[in-house]
Amino acid sequence: MSVKSALLALLAQEPTYGARLRAEFEARTGGTWPLNVGQVYTTVARLERDGLVKAAGAADEEGRISYRLTEAGRREVAQWWLSPVDRDSAPRDELAIKLALAVTVPGVDVRQVVQTQRTATLRHLQDLTRLKKHAGDQAPDGAGGADIAWLLVLENLIFSAEAEVRWLDHVEAMLAREASEPRRHRMDVPVASDDITLGRTAR
């Protein structure tokens, strides 16, 4: 997630100082991705170095300096809204890697690995649903912008957890099909290129 772009987007709304930027970011995302204030100040310093923000005036009586966007900063924010989030460079998914290894390493109870993960993900989904119910109970009608932002983030997490459970169901069904109807043409994977006789069929 680009903290830089998010802070620029907040500064496009109004000039403000680092601690308030952090508070705004966390309020709008329901504290899902907490920032430490040092990270915010470091990012703002980089934005200033790159000519995207500049001080909006002198420090106030508490020594806080507010920043505002430069013209280059406005262009950068506009570009961010128009650009899709890059999904090509997908981060490594530990669960996908774990299951890919589980089905190829002998002696692993893959069904149990799947079940353990599904239970954990369901628990997470229950927690998210409780948060959502609570949010709905608090503001059933006409939720304000910050509430909608928080619900939107919650729904994103719920969809992700739900997708993971569905994928685990799919994995389990695939494994069950494999067990009952093993594919005839498997790719034999030689352990070493000069020892072709070691090639074996994964089970």
């Binding site: 069904r111 079940q115 369901l122 628990r123 649903t129 119910k133 719920i158 459970v165």
Partner: protein
Amino acid sequence: MSGELILRLDDVSRVHGEGATAVRALAGVTMDVHAGELVAVMGPSGSGKSTLLNVAGGLDAPTGGRVFIAGWCIGDLKGDALARLRRRRVGFVFQDLNLIPSLTAIENVALPLELDGRRVREARRMARAALQLVSVPELADRFPDKMSGGQQQRVAIARALVGDRRLVLADEPTGALDSHTGEEVLRVLRERCDAGAAGLLVTHEARHAAWADRVIFLRDGVIVDSTGTSAVAETLLGAAVV
């Protein structure tokens, strides 16, 4: 879970058929559902979810073990007594075909009370209160074909919990609904359980199961896992995880 014990399945098994063609639908299922608790059951097709629900509601008889509803062992009850227990204590909500088309909402909700011998006037008063609890009192005089799917399911939940009924057994109650309406129905079910009902929900949707206090996973008729942290769930986990 400190609420009153409403449903108990004690080492319940259900085998369909005999001999070489016998199919084991449930095998040694033990679970409790208390007042104030919503429990979801998940599992692949053929894992025994619907059999579990039918056995829990006395619609099907176990071939082994015992089922208790509100303290009564339903295996000890004969035809009329079992039917009376079901009418008074248990309500079902299915995916569709819940309501009798020729009856209005209030007549549908009052029906089990009237069948149980309540006077029509009293039954209607209780039915109106039940419709109020699921936030659709305005549907009282409407026929099912003039209601949306979500409204029909709310009425079905009202009927499931009318009068002294405290146990609602729901089999994919949101299956025919769009996701928003389905969630509204789950929210109503959750609220009724928070208010003291006991719910057992069969679903294949993780998003819907997540409204439950506890999610039980069935595979081949056996509970293989649970998200619960109660003592019972911990025992099951210790005994059943393969």
